[in-house]
Amino acid sequence: MLKVKNGDLDKLGLLYERHKKKLFGFFYNLGNNPSISEDLVQNVFMRMLQYRNSYSGEGAFGAWMFKMARNANYDFHKKTLQTGVLRSTSEIQIKDPIEDRLNEEIEREDNNALLQKALEKLPKGKRELLVLAKYKGLKFSELAQIIGCSEGAAKVRVHRALKELRIIFLELEIG
């Protein structure tokens, strides 16, 4: 990223290849549909170009990138709320089980769909925490840097979000 900052913009391509899936998954798991998730990924890289001079090289690049991703997601949903456009969630990706699919796979997909629903029901901040902590595999120190708290507080917050997710998941499972 420092090379990009120093004017070697080509290097942003390398960063994109390395992080595009993580970012896409982050947006997708926050409840955005694939198309919006892709737009948001694009948005993050545009921001990286635009604000490349703000990158100091201190701290993990991932923390800086996900901080930007959070802001992009926040801005997007703020805008859609203002314009009254309903966001289309990844719910549309929940596919109907195909008959010849193995039961195990169907169950896994069902769980996944349920989990997505449970995540959607979680307050936004907690959902974001869980996605960052688990799905993106960030360290707690990086997570703390992104959300702006101590490492210990980040652990406690993830723990409580996880507990809340379980409760919602079980509720959905029961029906």
Binding site: G7, L9, D10, L12, G13, Y16, K20, K21, F24, G25, Y28, N29, P34, S37, E38, V41, Q42, F45, M46, L49, Q93, R108, N111, N112, L115, Q116, L119, L130, V131, A133, K134, Y135, K139, F140, G152, K155, V156, V158, H159, R160, L162, K163, L165, R166, F169
Partner: protein, 263 residues
């Protein structure tokens, strides 16, 4: 273990962030506390479930859009760089120019004030110097009148410090040269007067002093001085001096040589 500590330790344990010693301690704690063990198992299940969360692959269209955007950005950047090459030069220098101009103005202002102050002060210095010289001249005259040879020598020494002596001081020095009882004082007066040999009054005084000298050292000193000055007016007084029967033979030889040198 309080609730918050358990929450922290549980997360460290789940994510593998705990050290081996901590892990062992935590597991032993769980074994001793079934209630917490159950809580941790539930948490672990949720964590595992969360791990199953996946996302579809982004489409190739995302790559296309990104690389188009990047390519546009690179081109735009290059254009801006070339466009700003000239403007950038000024852009880069602008603050420096502004500061430079500001400092120049301040410098000129300060310089102007300092220069005018300096002028004033140089005028003051000149005035002060004049006052000092006037005082010094009075001092010289007073010292040359003193009965003590030392004080008269001091007076001649003070005369050497004056850049432009006036007629009064010259006359006082010539008087010392001609009539001072102490040869050392007279010699000092000659030495002092050599500083003003360009002054006709001094040259004339020195020539007239030749006949008044009785001390051989004074006679030789004046002879040397006249040779150095190539003062033709001194030949006649030297000739008259040679007529003096009591004149030292060495002095006689010296004067004869001097006359020859001057001619």
């Amino acid at each position: 273990m309080d609730k918050e500590l358990f929450e922290i330790k549980a997360m460290e344990h789940l994510t593998g962030a705990a050290s081996a010693a901590d892990t062992a301690l935590f597991e032993s704690f769980l074994d001793k506390n079934p209630e917490y063990k159950e809580k941790f198992s539930e948490l672990k299940r949720s964590w595992t479930l969360l791990g199953q969360l996946d996302a579809p692959q982004p489409s190739a269209q995302m790559d296309d859009s990104f690389f188009t955007m990047l390519s546009n950005a690179i081109q735009k950047n290059k254009k801006e760089e070339s466009k700003n090459m000239f403007a950038g030069l000024f852009g880069w220098f602008k603050p420096q120019f502004a500061f430079g101009a500001l400092f120049l103005m301040v410098g000129l202002g300060v310089g102007y004030f300092l220069a005018s102050n300096e002028e004033k002060s140089s005028n003051q210095v000149v005035a002060r110097d004049k006052e000092t010289e006037a005082v010094r001249q009075k001092l010289i005259l007073t010292l040359l009148e003193q009965p003590s040879a030392n004080q008269r020598l001091q007076g001649v020494g003070e005369a050497n410090k004056i850049v432009a002596v006036d007629e009064i001081v010259i006359k006082a020095l010539l008087k010392t040269l001609n009539y001072d009882a102490n040869v050392n004082v007279s010699l000092a007066a000659v030495e002092s007067l050599t500083n003003y040999v360009e002054n006709p009054l001094v040259r004339q005084g020195l020539v007239q002093a030749i006949q008044n000298q009785e001390s051989p050292i004074m006679q030789i000193t004046l002879a040397n001085l006249m040779v150095a000055l190539q003062e033709k007016a001194s030949i006649e007084p030297f000739k008259q001096l040679l007529e003096n029967q009591e004149l030292d033979t060495t002095v006689k030889k010296k004067i004869k040589n001097s006359i020859e040198s001057i001619i």
